[in-house]
């Protein structure tokens, strides 16, 4: 039973025809061409499909697409503004917080949710918050470092903290 789903994707309204068992990840990647969120495990374990739903991190692979009707979804594609990378993106880039990059879209979204809730997290708080995002390359130290430098305000645009 196909239905029209309307929601806000990265700040813009979208309408898309979906079936009830399609997940948000299916719809983003295969119907809307938004391929930032990756399909890792399809089981909720790996975290690379993480997106923000009304500002809270969720697994897009475990989210039935129709349940996001009328809500706001933010993917890694929506992080930069006017071609300017988000401070977390700059920090991940400059601190080498990835090797293959497959986990990065999910890492960035989890890290954004963390800093939105807690702008000055301790190292332990960062490790706990990021515990649901796996990096097979083992770039965890650099990921923590990148989040720490953003929290310290190093990449904040126009001086203030993001």
């Amino acid at each position: 039973m196909k239905q029209i789903l309307s929601f806000i994707l990265n700040g813009s309204p979208v309408d898309v025809i979906v079936t009830p068992t399609e997940t948000l990840l299916d719809v983003l990647r295969e119907k809307l061409g938004v391929t930032g969120p990756k399909r890792g495990c399809d089981d909720g374990d790996c975290g690379t499909c993480t997106v923000l739903l009304d500002g809270e991190p969720v697994r897009s692979c475990l989210t039935i697409a129709l349940t996001v009707a009328g809500r706001e979804v933010l993917t890694v594609e929506g992080l930069s503004t006017d071609g300017d990378l988000h401070p977390l993106q700059k920090a991940f880039h400059e601190h080498g917080a990835f090797q293959c990059g497959f986990c990065t879209p999910g890492m960035l979204m989890s890290a954004k949710a963390l800093l939105d809730h807690n702008p000055t997290p301790s190292r332990t708080e960062i490790r706990e918050y990021m515990s649901g995002n796996l990096c097979r390359c083992g770039s965890y130290e650099e990921i923590i470092e990148a989040i720490q430098v953003v929290a310290a305000g190093e990449y904040a645009p126009s001086g203030g903290k993001e």
């Binding site: 039973m1 239905q3 079936t19 009830p20 068992t21 997940t23 399809d42 089981d43 909720g44 374990d45 975290g47 993480t50 739903l53 809270e56 991190p57 969720v58 697994r59 692979c61 475990l62 989210t63 039935i64 129709l66 349940t67 009707a69 989890s110 949710a113 963390l114 706990e128 918050y129 515990s131 649901g132 995002n133």
Partner: protein, 281 residues
């Protein structure tokens, strides 16, 4: 391609009517952290999805000396709720071990009960408080003590026409803790978990609950071990004896997470630690 219908009722009456219509063929969707994984892997093939997110069941209130928790309350909400922190902190302790932040924002307490995994993180804490589950159907409501709810792995007394509406938690006295052992600290199913509650009068135990997770086909209340403590002065020797008795009541299995042998050893240590902590020894 199979046709699946999707319903997002906004009232409980509407939801139970849908469940009555579709029966076994309907899948109840709350946070989806268990259900959608099963859909993704074709482990279940429902013909209807009934999404409960529109029912406003995400609440915690105090009513008549009890906490009333809506079945749709997310694990993230339990972690930050003031009433839970003040009056039922063992549930918040369990919530902190559940999955990871992006799981906790969606996973619900009702879903954890409905999935009925022997490893369900929220269940032991509810069992040490003698919680009651309120089930609703088109015929009305009934209350089931949590002790009688689970009948096997993934199996409960809930019929296909019922939904879990609320959890009623009596504010029983005493101190309770939850402990979980997994392969890592986040995003894991427990190898063994335990919740215990002791009501002490001086050094003497007045009332006790000991519950084990992942050690039997359902979360398990260890009543013989509890009986050993009642009316006794709790010391290190009694704690060790009681922990051994609790594990003796369980029937752990070998699986991909651990062997039965390891579960028995680790479970004994975990229960002993939990008891010592609540007894203050």
């Amino acid at each position: 391609m199979r046709e699946v219908s999707y319903f997002a009722p906004t009232e409980v009456g509407e939801a139970v009517k849908l469940l009555a219509q579709h029966g076994e063929k309907a899948a109840v969707l709350a946070g989806g952290t268990d259900l959608v994984a099963q859909l993704n892997y074709y482990e279940i093939k429902p013909s209807a999805l009934v999404y409960l997110g529109g029912l406003d069941l995400d609440y915690v209130r105090e009513e008549g000396g009890k906490l009333v928790i809506g079945a749709g309350t997310t694990i993230a909400h339990l972690l930050t709720d003031d009433l839970i922190a003040q009056k039922f902190s063992v549930l918040a302790e369990a919530a902190a071990t559940h999955g990871s932040p992006a799981i906790r924002t969606k996973a619900t307490i009702g879903g954890n009960l409905g999935t009925a995994s022997p490893a369900g993180d929220m269940i032991p804490a509810l069992m040490v408080m003698d919680a009651d589950l309120v089930l609703a159907s088109s015929k009305g409501q009934r209350t089931v003590p949590i002790q009688e709810f689970f009948t096997g792995p993934g199996e409960t007394v809930r019929t296909a026409e019922e939904l879990i509406l609320e959890i009623h938690v009596p504010l029983l006295k005493g101190k309770a803790v939850f402990k979980k052992l997994g392969r890592r600290k986040a995003q894991v199913c427990s190898i063994v978990s335990t919740a215990v509650r002791l009501e002490m009068d001086g050094g003497v135990c007045k009332d006790a609950r000991i519950v084990l997770g992942s050690m039997a086909p359902t979360p398990l209340r260890c009543s013989k071990a509890e009986a050993m403590l009642k009316g006794k002065a709790v010391d290190a020797a009694l704690v060790a004896e009681c922990a051994a008795q609790a594990v003796a009541e369980s029937t752990p299995i070998d699986d991909q997470r651990a062997t039965a042998w390891y579960r028995a050893k680790a479970g004994t240590a975990l229960v002993a630690r939990a008891l010592a902590e609540v007894a203050g020894i």
